[in-house]
């Protein structure tokens, strides 16, 4: 049987599938379907320094082969997370990644410091949340911003540091390079593509926040393209996400250059998707006599 485990920045994952931040809460709910150890890891709902209520509803809209969301970082704050959610999560026998967002450099640094004192496995810097003014997106869309925040947080962070990138940019490869130069141990991409839907009867945007972040199968080709571009530009590992729906998509994303994967929206269609995707990958590897899933990474043969 092929080996599904992967290693990112020194951290071992039982398989390359990580639940994407914001789609999996702090794990409890999906843990009622299957043991969370079925997943390589969990990127927790984005947390901020202080508790946030998030945006008013509606926060969700469907789009062709995808969806929009503007949850707006509803979360209990980093202290409550550390006290109430992390201990349970750490017992689930899966890698735990804290996804953090802030208004200011200081907030990011303070959270990174607090989390560095816990047994969380990795920290994912969310500088690309398009749904709140304070989602760090002001840092996430310029090379200077990404470089600077990564450098600052790096100083306060003793955990492996993933920087999560926004696809709403002209040149994703340079942005990734800036994260690498700033000291990131890995990059994850893509966060959501900003989109909008309008109810033609009320002429109101369906999402109360007017715009929302698009995810799901629709964005997959954009994600594959960006993962390919980024993995050609940086030496640190790339965690690929955005629209992965089937095991074939998972394999494709790794071939494009990803060392690990995250999945989000597909969970809403089928909560068992992670199980089906890992099983499919396992069979594919065995059938093709590939002994380790890591052998897929970046094996694209561009024309």
């Amino acid at each position: 049987m092929a080996d599904l485990s992967v290693k990112i920045a020194g951290v071992e994952f039982g398989n390359p599938l990580i639940a994407a931040s914001g789609t999996f809460g702090f794990g409890k709910e999906y843990g009622e379907f299957y043991p969370l150890s079925a997943l390589g890891g969990i990127s927790c709902k984005g947390i901020t320094l202080k508790k946030r209520d998030g945006n008013p509803s509606p926060r969700i809209a469907e789009t062709p082969s995808g969806m929009l969301n503007a949850v707006g970082l509803q979360n209990p704050g980093v202290d409550v997370f550390i006290k109430e959610d992390l201990p349970w999560l750490k017992q689930q026998n899966t890698v735990v990644i804290a996804n953090i967002a802030g208004n200011t450099f200081e907030e990011y640094c303070e959270m990174a410091e607090k989390l560095s004192d816990t047994d969380v496995d990795m920290i994912e810097l969310n500088i690309s949340c398009p749904n709140v003014k304070q989602g760090g997106v002001q840092f996430g869309t310029s090379c200077e911003g990404v470089g600077e925040i990564t450098r600052q947080v790096r100083k306060h962070c003793t955990k492996p540091l993933i920087v999560k990138l926004s696809p709403n940019v002209t040149d994703i490869a340079s942005i990734a390079k800036a994260a690498e130069d700033g000291g990131a141990d890995a990059v994850s991409l893509i966060n959501t593509l900003t989109g909008m839907r309008i109810d033609i009867n009320s002429r109101r945007p369906i999402i109360r926040n007017n715009t929302g972040g698009m995810s799901g199968a629709a964005v997959f080709p954009v994600a594959v393209r960006m993962v390919w571009q980024v993995s050609n530009a940086v030496k640190i590992p790339v965690i690929g996400l955005g629209g992965i729906t089937t095991w074939q998509d998972a394999v494709e994303m790794m071939i494009a250059g990803a060392s690990a994967l995250q999945i989000g929206t597909v969970l809403f269609t089928d909560p068992y998707a992670p199980i089906k995707i890992t099983e499919g990958m396992q069979k594919y590897l065995d059938k093709n006599n590939i002994s380790s899933v890591t052998e897929l990474t970046g094996t694209i043969r561009p024309w």
Binding site: E29, Y34, K45, G54, I60, L267
Partner: protein, 252 residues
């Protein structure tokens, strides 16, 4: 493991009123018992998001979902045929809290009527008030009758039953009951809550919000509730769909 997704054989899927369908699927209620007011999260082929539909009834191994064709998803649902299977994540949500010995007034407005059927069956001699816009949309009257409910039908335009609103009847009869449960459009729920507050009767309302996960993980279906003076965010899929009316911040 509390949750499960299963493919249930579709028994029938008939149009019972203008654009309203009654779907019956085979369901083992011993394996997955359902409380009244809970909902099913229905997978619709080719769609990314499931559709939340209240349980209308569970009896003799049959789960009933009564739904109105609104957009594309319910359209596709309405085209499913017996012999196919329906992929359902159920039961979800908290459901109505029913106490023995109380007489309930159950109010349904439009497509909020269906969950009241199973609720009626869980209560003794309930007063059921059903309201519709027009006679072409009236549903489930025979079923409520069979369930032994005291049944009142009102329509906005008087084309069936009494002309008027459910709250007109509620005002008349509220003192014959101990507690109110309601499901329907938000303006109706607000009006019902107001009457209940006036008469100091407890009132539970079933809310709707756009959903993704259906289980409390994505925080998509937030509603603001006021619990003990503090406004907090709760989620229709997990903390609801049923809330104490007095705690709901309707304009939130």
């Amino acid at each position: 493991m509390k949750y499960d997704v299963k493919k249930y054989p579709l028994i029938s899927n008939a149009e019972i009123a203008d654009g309203i369908f009654d779907m019956h699927v085979e369901y083992d209620s011993n394996a997955l018992p359902v409380k009244c007011g809970q909902f099913a999260h229905v997978y619709v082929p080719s769609k990314t998001l499931r559709r939340p539909i209240s349980v209308c009834d569970v009896e003799n191994g049959v789960l009933r979902l009564v739904y109105q064709v609104k957009g594309e998803g319910t359209k596709i649902m309405s085209q499913m045929k017996s012999g196919e299977t329906v992929d359902i994540l159920a039961p979800l949500g908290n459901g109505f809290k029913i106490e023995q010995g109380k007489r309930y007034c159950l109010i349904g407005g439009g497509i909020g009527v269906p969950p009241m059927l199973y609720t009626a069956k869980q209560t003794q001699n309930p007063l059921v008030i059903t309201g519709f816009r027009d006679k072409s949309l009236v549903i489930l009257q025979d079923d409520f009758a069979k369930a032994g409910a005291e049944l009142v039908l009102v329509t906005d335009n008087g084309t069936a039953g009494t002309k008027g609103f459910v709250t007109d009847i509620l005002r008349e009869k509220i003192n014959e009951t101990d507690e109110v449960c309601a499901c329907g459009p938000t303006p109706m729920l607000k009006a019902v809550a107001k009457v209940c507050a006036e008469f100091s009767k407890p009132c539970q309302v079933s809310l709707e919000e756009r959903m993704a996960c259906g289980i409390g993980a994505c925080l998509g279906c937030a509603v603001k509730v006021n619990i003990g003076g503090e406004e907090i965010m709760q989620h229709v899929c997990k903390n609801g769909p049923v809330f104490n009316a007095e705690e709901v911040v309707f304009n939130g």
